[in-house]
Amino acid sequence: MIQLVDIHKTFVVKDKKSRSKKRIEAVKGLTFTVQPGEIYGLLGPNGAGKSTTLRMIAGLMKPDQGELRICGLDGLAEPERSRAQIGYLSTDLNVYGRFTPRELLRIFGEFQGLEAGIAERRGMHLLEKLDLHDFADVRMEGFSSGQKQKVSIARALLHDPRVVIFDEPTTGLDVLTAKTVLDMLRLLRSEGRTVIVSTHVMPMVEEICDRVGIIFDGLLHGDAAPAEILSKWNVKTLDEVFFQLAAQAAVEA
């Protein structure tokens, strides 16, 4: 289970023109919970705060304020133990090009506390599920985006995490690879894992997410099942929710 209570995150950036420092509040008091056996979709346009939120859950960033619990553990007080429960897939479609998938999975398995042999076996099993086992011993520098994403998914799931975080997992992928990724997400849900995905591909959300949270300008606008959101906003697609939020933001500005 993932639990976020009043999470805040501010970045200090340098304004190149005025040479002064600016504080940008990227996340403004997020509170939501994701249950085991559930796929939670974190939606929002670019710069809304999705990746920052996921990075905080994955332990890559620390919130300035708030409470974060991962499978009952305090994510801030016990970062290493919390990270051990998480399988994180970042937006970067990059892998260690010099390694083969087998080598990468073996070494990352060791990083996650597995024995090299077990890590390799689990890795090969995951590659088979992702239909990439034929490329297990090929150096990854020439891999396509889809192949790299599959290896990254295997890497993220290698240590059998109870919480899975996928940050924009289908961006830049062809339909076949995207389908493989979605099938994997469904499988993870069926296995009782807590899954959270961020995306701005709305059809995907409607297809697989049990619940969605819409982030706009660092705030959570709605936390419910996709159908409930549509009904509450009186729209036909989730895209229209964004248009309305953008219009509201423009009026307020």
């Binding site: 332990g59 960033m61 290493e80 090009g97 070494i107």
Partner: protein, 405 residues
């Protein structure tokens, strides 16, 4: 520590996949020095033989035939040529001849009157062949001078000692090993520093800014490994690469120097070499061991600096730009430590890098000062420890991790 060792394993595994880097980091140093030294020695030998075998071309103006017959008696050393066309100075510069020698027309009379006769010589000392010609001429003139002095002394029935009231009999107490040690110590320390720094730099950039640039650093940080272990693993890798690079270069250079340059020196000075042998092994074992002990904290200091700058940089280009000037700083401090009289300055043992360079130089010339050595070692260990403490906290800084190009 297990996490750091796993990161180290990953870095070396990644390195093992890169044949080009392996060649340039590990194989090249082994080939480079023997190749460079053998080429230099071979060229020098060939050039020297060519010069020695060739008679020096001299335009001699000697109306009284004071030295003509002596020069003609050595056809392998001197070739008397006729007056060249054009300006004589230009002819010498153009290497059409090596010397112009002019003996005054009244030279014989002056000698007979027991006066000094001046010989005018035009030469181009920037050319080794002209210098050799002058050396040969000086030898001939010196022989003739000695004969004349002997004749004059005989004429007045004076003993030969009259013309030599004093003479110096010197004995060289330095064995070949010490001479070589001093020679090595004059350039080895700063070469070692450069090799260690440059040997660490590229792997350091690849494993820090490179990981950020390739987007793989986040994968590492998302694992259960503590962040200080990740940095420590990377530090160890960069440090080991620097040490390996320096040791390989040192071994290759030491072997080349001892075998090739040493043999050449022994040929030039067979007396010094006889009995003492090269003296290198005994000197090298201690000097090398103590130098290596100094290199460990220094290598760690360099690795810390490289990792620190690499992690702060947005990409490999920025890291390269930030780290390249470090080579000049290292070269400057290394060369400065070789400046004459620098060891007398009390503050030198407290200047990082320079104190190590100076201590290594002293070790090789068998003039090591234990206090100076310990201060250099202590200072470098302390600095390396402080830098390691700072570095291991680097990945806690989100601004460093997520700085994007």
């Amino acid at each position: 520590m297990r996490g750091a060792l796993l990161i180290l394993k990953k870095e070396f595994l990644e390195l093992s996949k890169d044949r080009k880097t392996i060649f340039f980091a590990f194989v090249m140093p082994l080939l480079l020095w023997p190749l460079i030294f053998s080429m230099i020695l071979s060229l020098e030998k060939t050039d020297s033989k060519r010069r020695e075998d060739k008679a020096s071309r001299i335009w001699l103006v000697d109306p009284g035939r004071v030295i003509t017959s002596r020069l003609q008696a050595e056809p392998k050393l001197f070739e008397l040529v006729s007056q060249p066309s054009g300006d004589i100075r230009q002819a010498i510069k153009d290497q059409k001849l090596e010397l112009f020698v002019e003996i005054p027309s009244d030279a014989q009379e002056k000698i007979a009157r027991q006066e000094t006769c001046s010989i005018k010589v035009l030469t181009d000392e920037s050319e080794s062949s002209s210098s050799l010609a002058l050396k040969r001429l000086r030898k001939v003139v010196s022989t003739q001078e000695k004969d004349l002095v002997a004749a004059r002394l005989q004429a007045i029935q004076a003993p030969p000692q009259l013309a030599e009231p004093m003479n110096i009999a010197s004995t060289n107490v330095a064995d070949m090993g010490l001479q070589m040690g001093k020679l090595l110590g004059s350039f080895l320390p700063y070469l070692l520093l450069i090799m260690m720094y440059s040997g660490s730099m590229q792997p350091g950039i690849y494993t820090t800014a490179g990981e950020k640039e390739r987007g793989t650093l986040q994968c590492l940080l998302a694992t259960r490994l503590p962040r200080n272990q990740i940095i420590l693993g990377k530090l160890l890798y960069v440090f080991l690469m620097g040490v390996i690079s320096a040791v390989l270069n040192l071994a290759s250079m030491g072997f080349t120097f001892t075998k090739m340059v040493g043999a050449a020196m022994a040929q030039d000075a067979p007396v010094a070499a006889t009995g003492h042998g090269m003296g290198m092994p005994a000197m090298s074992a201690v000097a090398l061991g103590l130098s290596f002990l100094l290199m460990i904290p220094l290598g760690l200091l360099f690795a810390n600096f490289i990792v620190f700058m690499g992690i702060q940089a947005k990409n490999t280009h920025e890291a390269g730009t930030a780290l390249a000037p470090g080579i000049f700083v290292v070269v400057f401090l290394g060369i400065f430590s070789s400046a004459p009289g620098i060891e007398k300055m009390l503050w030198v043992p407290y200047v990082p890098v320079m104190n190590v360079s100076l201590a290594i130089r002293k070790l090789f010339s068998q003039q090591g000062d234990p206090v100076q050595y310990l201060v250099a070692l202590g200072m470098t260990v302390l600095l390396a420890a402080v830098m390691t403490w700072i570095s291991t906290r680097l990945l806690d800084r989100e601004s460093a991790i997520f700085k994007q190009s």
